[in-house]
């Protein structure tokens, strides 16, 4: 096997050490610090982002809770307002009904008394008229001596007059 030929032993070992050393120096000096730094920066960035996301999430949840509480209170408030309004309306309605009833009763009573008054007045008038007419009729009968036919005619006249009077 050519690999076991030791002719190049010194050369291979020497140059291996040199090459490896140079690479080690280059990586250690230039490449690795930057990459490690970058890895750490990215780790930190990701961690920060996650933390922030968590914080924002909590904030959002808090806000949500606040809004929900507010919403509930608003709902309650609206319900009380509505209830109050309904009660008010009910009261108003009842009041109106009561007043209307009273008014109606009052108007009915007034109308009734009016009717009674009018009735009495009419009765009085009828009475008066009857008296007047009777007097008139009596006058006419007494003022003339007349035939039977005349009597009959006169009476009819009187009756007609009375009827006309009554009609009026």
């Amino acid at each position: 096997m050519p690999q076991f030929d030791t002719t190049f032993l010194a050369s291979l070992l020497f140059w291996s050490v040199i090459s490896f050393g140079i690479l080690l120096f280059l990586l250690k000096r230039f490449a690795l610090p930057g990459i490690l730094e970058m890895l750490e920066a990215r780790e930190k960035k990701i961690k920060d982002s996650l933390d922030q996301a968590e914080r924002l999430k909590q904030e959002a949840q808090q806000l949500l809770a606040q809004y929900e509480a507010k919403l509930t209170s608003i709902h309650d408030e609206s319900r009380t307002i509505l209830d109050a309004a309904r009660k008010q309306a009910q009261l108003q309605l009842e009041e109106n009904e009561r007043r209307m009833e009273q008014e109606t009763k009052r108007m009915l009573a007034e109308a009734r008394s009016e009717i009674q008054r009018e009735q009495q007045r009419v009765l009085r008038e009828v009475h008066q008229t009857a008296v007047d007419l009777t007097l008139l009729a009596a006058e006419k009968v007494l003022s003339r001596s007349l035939t039977d036919a005349d009597h009959r005619r006169l009476i009819e006249e009187a009756v007609q007059e009375i009827a006309q009077q009554a009609k009026r």
């Binding site: 050369s11 690479l23 990586l27 490449a31 690795l32 490690l36």
Partner: protein
């Protein structure tokens, strides 16, 4: 057909001799440079856009770094982060060496047992140093698994010593053997295709494609295994059971 292991041979491109050592530049060395350049380019492209919302390359680099960081922390604890640059370099060096070696015409650095052995011994020696610095002589208790009855010690001690010493060997051989075997199989299949002509050659060609895909996966898996074992060995030294 020529020797399928022939393409693992190294040839000096630029001969260099320093202090009595032959430090010639060969294909493997050039590929190491290519690997270093490719990994650097990858990270440069990834780091160029440095945005909070990453581009594709950036995200690829970040995912792999993140993954390796998880690996280090899981196996070595927070204290292990000191070794993090080493682990990242190890992973990307091996991975890119494996992957770039799969490009026809290139050389697979990790198919050289001397290279894999170097990395394995590096990891092992590092774990020993860490173990003795953190725990002092108490580090020897790594040879005694917790809960071992006293009368088992004569049996356990040699076994544990062997298993400890086997670590760098298995670590280096695993990667080397996987790479060598994969490339050899690819080479043989491809040779068969060329030799088979149009009538029968399609069969090895199909196999070549399948094995190639497999080798890409193996490239990732072997880089991953090497790295995870490195973290485990170092983690053992840090945590001591």
């Amino acid at each position: 057909m020529e020797n399928p292991l022939h393409h693992f041979e190294l040839h000096p491109l630029i001969p260099i001799h320093l202090f009595g050592f032959d430090l010639s530049i060969n294909q493997a060395v050039v590929m190491m440079w290519v690997v270093v350049a490719a990994v650097s380019l990858f990270f440069w492209t990834a780091a160029r856009t440095r945005q909070l919302v990453p581009t594709k390359i950036q995200s690829l680099a970040e995912i792999s770094v993140e993954f390796l960081r998880g690996l280090v922390i899981e196996n070595m604890g927070e204290r292990g982060m000191r070794f993090f640059p080493f682990i990242v370099t190890l992973f990307f060096f091996i991975l890119f060496a494996n992957l770039l070696g799969l490009i026809p015409g290139t050389y697979t650095v990790t198919s050289q047992i001397m290279v894999t052995a170097l990395f394995a011994i590096m990891v092992y020696v590092m774990s020993l140093i860490v173990g003795f610095t953190v725990h002092g002589l108490h580090f020897f208790s790594i040879l005694v698994p917790p809960g071992t009855p006293g009368w088992l010690l004569p049996l356990m001690l040699p076994i544990e010593v062997i298993s400890q010493l086997a670590r760098p060997v298995t670590l280096s051989v695993r990667l080397f053997a996987n790479m060598t075997a994969g490339h050899t199989v690819l080479y043989v299949l491809f040779g068969l295709m060329l030799a088979g002509g149009v009538l029968i050659g399609w069969l090895p060609f199909v196999f070549t494609v399948v094995v190639y895909i497999l080798e890409v996966i193996v490239a990732f898996i072997q880089a991953f295994i090497f790295t995870i074992l490195a973290t485990v060995y170092l983690g053992d030294a840090i945590k001591l059971h």
